[in-house]
Symmetry: C2
Subunit: 326 residues, 2 copies
């Protein structure tokens, strides 16, 4: 068992939050993570009202949070409003300025979690009153920025400390097991956000072909690319791109985005159909570099237990074996 | 104090190796790190015989190692041969296949250290009999690959374990203080390689303007780019690029490499002159994302002491505060 400021302040057993992965993190996963002692999050993504209603219903009575892609909320504030009416534990905003939504979220009683990709973002997150700042490294699955976790997490820790804010810090990106949790605590985090490891789990809204690929892959097999966003004609700001497994589709179009733009809707439709069909030559298995640490698909509760007990053992063993007293 | 397999097998006090930074890591820094209880490395880089002779002379009687850019050795094996005659503690190879040089290095009695940027590289390093594998994340200063430390280090740890090799594992990239050392041990490393933090130190072969920039900068101010390599007409394989502080030169040419190639030698000469003059608008301050963790220029011995004592305290405190017994 691990006790941190995160477990104490949120009243949860384990310092682990499941990432609100768009499409993949539904009510089943979120509620399973909460039930197992973490904080589960529904991946609200671009904010589809029907899907959100369905997933919150699936989460039932378990307290869960919900994440949104911040820049996409501008055209779709209704999704946030509807979600706040469901009394989520937390609203998680990433990829854009949280300022327009911060006050409303905090007034609702939900925790405000802002995920940041730079120190500059972290300063903004503190400014708008984030309860939790998630420092996300570029090794994360799906969208992220350019900075990696190892130096970003401690620099954000220093930034929070210097600000006088009592915001908690959570590390994200590349955390696939107890080693990543233990390392994150050393870097100054109060807990971790886990995406890829929970992506490969029984409660998946993910095709079994993709789960099989995630288990087989090394982190070497991933790349960061805008191919999927261009194919799907999504207006992602240039500073963000997505980590995914390489496949024939990215081999064809990565480094050839102008041609992909011209190919237009046909390619987007092809990708969307392939996602549903589990055709992994076209649709991309959206995992980060931690995919290389995953060797099985397990229930979320078992994943959570193994992450926490491994981290606890590692810290204990390191104290006993590495630290020479006196 | 921290004891690990690295300190035990090498008979050194601290599990810290200074990175063999080309141009910047001379005999003064390497010997200072060894004297302070780590393992100091001279940055042999592309293999300039005169410079190496001078730097080994400056290191005096202190046992130090020497690093080379592997792909550059092909045209310049004499630099390796001359270095081996000086009985270095270790030869450190990075950025290319170590196979052609491994046998010769091991036969000389020097430790073979191979720095890797992927799991595939790590397998090769094990195959050629590396005594130490350095897993280098893309947040490192200077050249590196595309994978970041947080998931690369544990995946390489698993790869070494699965191979049955008794090679040691050292983490590199983004480690600027004791937090990074403690985190690296949690991820399965036996020690760390520190570059950027030792770059900003009294024993610098670095212009004071660049030291001042490194102290002032955030990791946000860095980028990974091939601009300097193209300007200097160096034949770096495409999979490697260099982390550095952004400046007017990278703003002008990053994303415009074809034009830079046409500009040719004039730009390369301008860059080289600016490096000597400390003109940081043109020559780049070659630090990684850990630059955001550095707030002073100190002697190498003090840096080493502070990294180790901070790591030791963090592990002890985490054991006492986070791990709930039973």
């Amino acid at each position: 068992m691990l006790t941190t400021r995160l477990t104490e302040r949120l009243g949860i057993a384990h310092p682990v939050i499941s990432a609100p992965m768009a499409n993949a993190s539904g009510g089943a996963l979120a509620s399973a993570v909460t039930r197992a002692g973490g904080l589960g999050m529904i991946g609200g993504g671009y904010g589809k009202s029907d899907w959100l209603a369905e997933q919150f219903a699936l989460a039932g009575n378990q307290p869960v949070g919900c994440g949104f892609i911040t820049w996409a909320l501008e055209k779709n504030q209704i999704a946030l409003d509807e979600t706040l009416e469901r009394s989520p534990t937390a609203i998680f905003l990433s990829f854009g300025d949280p300022a327009p939504y911060a006050e409303k979220i905090k007034a609702s009683g939900a925790l405000l979690i802002c995920q940041v990709q730079t120190v500059k973002d972290a300063k903004r997150a503190i400014e708008v009153g984030s309860d939790i700042v998630v420092a996300q490294g570029s090794e994360a699955g799906g969208h992220s920025g350019k900075r990696a976790s190892f130096a970003l997490v401690p620099e954000v820790a220093d930034t929070i400390n210097a600000s006088g804010s009592d915001a908690l810090l959570v590390a994200a990106g590349g955390i696939g097991d107890g080693r990543g949790l233990a390392a994150s605590l050393m870097l100054g985090a109060d807990g971790v956000l886990v995406g890829t490891r929970f992506w490969a789990r029984d409660e998946a809204l993910v095709h079994e072909n993709m789960l099989a690929e995630a288990v087989a892959a090394s982190g070497d097999d991933t790349l960061q690319t805008s191919v999927m966003d261009v194919a799907r004609e999504l207006d992602w700001p240039e500073r963000y791109s997505a980590h995914t497994l390489r496949n024939k589709f990215t081999d064809q179009w990565h480094g050839n985005l102008d041609e992909l733009k011209k190919a237009g809707k046909a390619e987007a439709d092809k990708w969307a159909a392939a996602w549903i069909a589990g055709d992994t030559d076209i649709a991309n298995t959206m995992v980060g570099e931690a995919t290389g640490l995953i060797s099985s698909v397990m229930p979320a509760a078992e994943i959570l237990d193994s992450i926490v007990s491994e981290a606890s053992d590692i810290i204990s063993n390191s104290f006993k074996q590495n630290v020479k007293q006196g």
